[in-house]
Symmetry: C2
Subunit: 207 residues, 2 copies
């Protein structure tokens, strides 16, 4: 409950304030937005409100990890792992299912993914065991995979995770690569930070 | 579905994209936020997801209009109409239940409210019949009400609604007042618009 409104408790309606609290617990939704959403939901038709509620239950119930790549799916395998035309010898390792979506939008990558569902972060209590790393190792045991591309985020946690996994894979004789660092296309050199710029210089290519 | 991602349809998971669409249909939630919310919901525990869904159904089912003032409540009368200490001879007419909350936060108003649930807006097809105006007139029939304060929003629609209602009430011999216009407290004269400033001059008080 918002500190401003806390003294309003006697005038609030229990199911309404419960709904506001529920919305407020979602990421990126503050008290004002939660109130607006709650009033909107109350104003919906019965069918629409039931659809919203059932879509939450339905998604939560039916969606689970793909048996191979740990991406989200409502079937045994995700659409990418099911696709026979995908090159199964290259695996791109990402932190999050949304990263798969982002890479798919490039239309440049025709191999398969592996979703870790997070990055190693000792400060948040996330160790290698909480990530889908053993599932990745299981995929590599049949010697079909030639290259693993580490596409974790360019953050301290993402770097640490990429390093950790690459050290696990090196002894197996698998080529491990990392996404290129550099200036973003359409960006402005003036506003690029020093670390990005120095990485762009290091990684320069002949034209 | 976002135009950028529409070609991703083959890689999306049906219950997930249905949930994203549902969230996206809520006010103030764009495609990216809807995605974030959907992934958050999938990551919730079963109990938490069920709580969220049931709070939506619960609020939608139990909350209805107060029999007297049309504010939202889960009982026959809202807490303000139930309160014996409230002065029932003055009614403050507002557009929205959130306006009641805003006025209650001032702790200055000890009478009762009437919620219209909108304002007259011919452009949006909202006429007087869609608002809770007849419920207001019904409250005035027993001669107990001495004053009606029009606290609709200071917009064209709010003004029109205030004018419409005041013309209905004048012949009944009820005093109809309007919230004062002026410069907001803590505001800066330099940034006040001309209309507000001229209303502030018109409505000046002796000190």
């Amino acid at each position: 409950m918002c500190p401003v409104c806390s003294d309003m408790a006697s005038y609030t309606v229990a199911p309404l304030s419960r709904l506001v609290d529920e919305f407020e617990s979602l990421p990126g939704i503050g008290h004002k937005s939660a109130q607006r959403l709650a009033y909107h939901v109350i104003g919906l038709s019965k069918e629409k409100a039931e659809e919203l509620a059932s879509s939450i239950l339905d998604a939560h119930e039916k969606i689970h990890y793909c048996r191979i790549c740990c991406n989200l799916t409502d079937q045994e395998l995700c659409p990418i792992c099911r696709n026979e035309e995908r090159d199964k010898s290259v695996i791109c390792v990402v932190e999050d299912p949304r990263d798969v979506m982002a890479l798919e939008r490039t239309h440049e990558f025709h191999a398969v993914y592996h979703v870790l569902h997070g990055a190693i972060s000792p400060l948040s209590g996330v160790g290698p065991d909480q990530l889908c790393i053993k599932e990745l190792l299981a995929r590599l045991s049949n010697n079909e995979v030639k290259e693993v591309i580490m596409a974790t985020n360019p953050t301290v946690e993402g770097e640490a995770t990429a390093m950790y996994i690459s050290r696990l894979l090196k002894p197996m004789g698998i080529k491990v690569t990392r996404l290129a660092y550099g200036i973003p296309v359409g960006g402005d050199l003036e506003y690029a930070d020093e670390v990005t710029l120095s990485r762009a210089i290091e990684g320069r290519n002949e034209i």
